[in-house]
């Protein structure tokens, strides 16, 4: 095992331990160090499930992956006077109509 692999292995072990530990003290919010550790650990996990994948919740309850089409996308537009408009739509398609249009 190379030194890089050893480091990766150690990080992975730490990640699993950190994630399994959950909140450090029940009833007490995490402090900044604990949050950073959990964020680093989560980043080493497998990627999120993909849209369309059938899921079952950890307690056996029904679950579903939300497709990107149902996420909210924000768009910026500028009107004739240069004023920025920010709109939100599903998907990556820009909104068909500005909130503020330039005549006609």
């Amino acid at each position: 095992m190379s030194s890089n692999n050893k480091i990766t292995g150690a990080l992975a072990a730490f990640a699993v331990a950190a994630l399994m530990a959950g909140p450090a003290v029940a009833g007490t919010p995490l402090n900044v160090v604990q949050k950073k550790a959990l964020a680093d650990a989560k980043a080493l996990q497998a990627p999120s499930p993909t849209a369309g994948q059938t899921l079952t919740g950890a307690d056996g309850s029904p679950a579903a992956v939300v497709p990107d089409e149902l996420h909210n996308y924000m768009h910026a537009q500028r009107d004739a006077s240069g004023k920025v408009q920010v709109l939100e739509t599903d998907g990556t398609t820009a909104p068909a109509k500005a909130m503020e249009v330039t005549n006609e």
Binding site: V33, L38, H71
Partner: protein
């Protein structure tokens, strides 16, 4: 009215303060960007507006962390809420996106059976991580756009406040969204969601969960008539929204009533004193008579001129009407859309107000001229809510995929964080208006504990400042988010204290804290300064 509002305020605060054993939520952005990109972009940056980052990536991380801390202080959950966080080159003009990664139903303690809940909320209610291999919220923002990364709300003209965008998007991820496609009426996997349980159409008298798919398609176009019925959102709307302003036709009877209007960027705004009187057709004698693009030849002197949209600019039409002696202009849209559009334009010589109505309203008006109109303030109603005070949801016609349904109506005043268009009047670094109220309706518990300041080595110090939302202000969230920022960024004890001192000054200057309250914050900051070693080792 004031008595009613005061009574409502007490009721809202009491309801929001309902006891719970859960803790403040921990929202954890997980940086998934690679080296020297996005959240790790090493491009040097000048600290701005309380954001102490010295690289573009660091400033972005600080804003995301700040937004996470703000939301975390507002909500309760024993389960960490993981937010996949990335900056990517996105499509032209795309700023970013966010939403729940998974949805869950019929988990332990689910308040409503057989409906989807977003992952973060389902975890909070059930007390377990229902999808442990998944993030709860997915977020990505554009690496091609120049945001304002300050935390003080002082966004320069022409820029977009990144904190407002992130707070808005995280709000969606936490549950301010349905899981339904408005264009088809289809629920995700054929199952309704908790947001739609409260989505109600005043025209049909039906909740979305009681409608057929075809009925939801129609309802999603019913601008102004679909509301969110949750008790907390309703109480919050009655407390926070302005008195309703209505453009009203008073005669003749066939068209009497209130109508939605669009606005223009030139001339005076419509008011109760400048838009009263008789409406007549404004016509010219060239080409299409009703377009008002040439000198108005009909008698509009002392009256309000009704003119069709099209052919020339709205400013030209208004100027022609003004030159003919009109006191105001109503533009009838020439396309089927509701709400009627707003128009930009510049003409400093225009001194009369102009409004825009829908094509359908314009057609009705023309068949009933002359008519009498007025502009009224109704202190018994609320701007952006129905007659019962229930906040309106944004349901434009034609449907705006993504904007429709999962937002408060853009008709609301003051502007709300969860309207479909971000605007520069938002102050999400301390004001979340009636967003948490809706989240409480769908099942979140709000954290009403007083603001606490601590660090890894120093137990939380209670500032004694209320965590209860008051008038939309969440002071506890701002204080605790500022504390986290200062803990992360400070290299020395003195730097931490200076950071908190600057944050206090910003809050006092913004009127969020009184000087006395600011001193309480700094007493706790002093305790952290005295006992915490800096820099904190991560």
């Amino acid at each position: 009215m004031n008595k009613l509002r005061n009574a409502l305020a007490v009721a809202v605060l009491a309801a929001l303060a309902a006891a719970s054993s859960a803790q403040a939520a921990d929202l954890i952005p997980v940086n998934l960007d690679g080296a020297n990109e996005g959240y790790n972009d090493n491009t040097p940056a000048t600290p701005v507006g309380g954001n102490y980052g010295t690289t573009k990536g660091e400033q972005r991380r600080i804003v995301a962390q700040y937004a996470a801390a703000m939301w975390g202080s507002v909500l309760k959950s024993d389960q960490p809420i993981y937010i996949a966080a990335q900056f990517n080159p996105l499509g032209a003009n795309v700023l970013g996106s966010a939403g729940a990664v998974t949805v869950h139903a019929n988990f332990g303690n689910a308040p409503v059976a057989n409906v989807w809940y977003p992952a973060a909320l389902a975890d909070a209610i059930s007390g377990i991580d229902l999808a442990p291999t998944s993030y709860d919220i997915s977020s990505q923002f554009s690496s091609d756009f120049s945001f304002y990364y300050g935390l003080d709300g002082k966004t320069p003209a022409g820029q977009i406040n990144f904190l407002d965008v992130v707070m808005h998007e995280f709000g969606h991820g936490l549950g301010f969204q349905n899981f339904e496609t408005e264009a088809t009426g289809a629920f995700l996997s054929g199952r309704a969601d908790i947001y739609s349980v409260y989505t109600y159409d005043n025209t049909t008298g039906k909740f979305w969960t009681a409608m057929t798919q075809a009925e939801r398609v129609t309802s999603a176009l019913n601008y102004g008539n679909v509301v969110f019925t949750g008790a907390n959102a309703t109480a919050g709307a009655k407390l926070l929204l302005d008195d309703r302003k209505d453009f009203r036709v008073t005669a003749p009877a066939p068209v009497a009533g209130n109508y939605a209007i669009g606005s223009v960027t030139f001339g005076p705004l419509i008011s109760t004193t400048n838009f009263n009187g008789q409406v007549v057709l404004g016509t010219d004698s060239v080409g299409t008579p009703g377009d008002g693009c040439e000198a108005i030849t009909s008698n509009v002197a002392g009256k309000i001129a009704l003119i069709d949209r099209g052919v020339c600019t709205i400013a030209i039409k208004t100027k022609n009407a003004q030159d003919a002696g009109a006191i105001g202009v109503i533009i009838a849209n020439n396309a089927a859309a509701n709400p009627p559009p707003n128009f930009s334009g510049v003409d400093p010589t225009i001194t009369i107000p102009t409004i825009v109505v829908t094509q359908a309203a314009g057609t009705s008006f023309k068949a009933n001229l002359p008519m009498t109109v007025t502009y009224v303030v109704d202190a018994t109603k609320w701007q952006g809510a129905d007659d019962l005070g229930r906040p309106r949801l944004f349901m434009p016609n034609p449907v705006q995929s993504g904007s429709s349904g999962s937002h408060y109506d853009n008709n609301a005043m003051p502007n709300l964080l969860m309207e479909p268009a971000i605007n520069d009047s938002l102050r999400s670094y301390y004001n979340l208006d009636i967003t948490p109220h809706l989240l409480k309706d769908i099942g979140w518990q709000l954290n009403t504990a007083s603001a606490k300041i601590g660090s890894p080595n120093v137990p939380d110090c209670d500032t004694g400042l209320s965590g209860t939302p008051s008038g939309g202000l969440f002071v506890a969230g701002t204080i605790q988010a500022s504390n986290e920022l200062c803990l992360i960024s400070a290299q020395t004890r003195g730097a931490y204290y200076s950071c908190m001192d600057a944050a206090r000054d910003r809050m006092v200057a913004a009127g969020v804290l009184t000087s006395l309250q600011g001193n309480k914050v700094m007493m706790c900051a002093r305790r952290v300064q005295d006992h915490q070693v800096f820099p904190i080792a991560f």
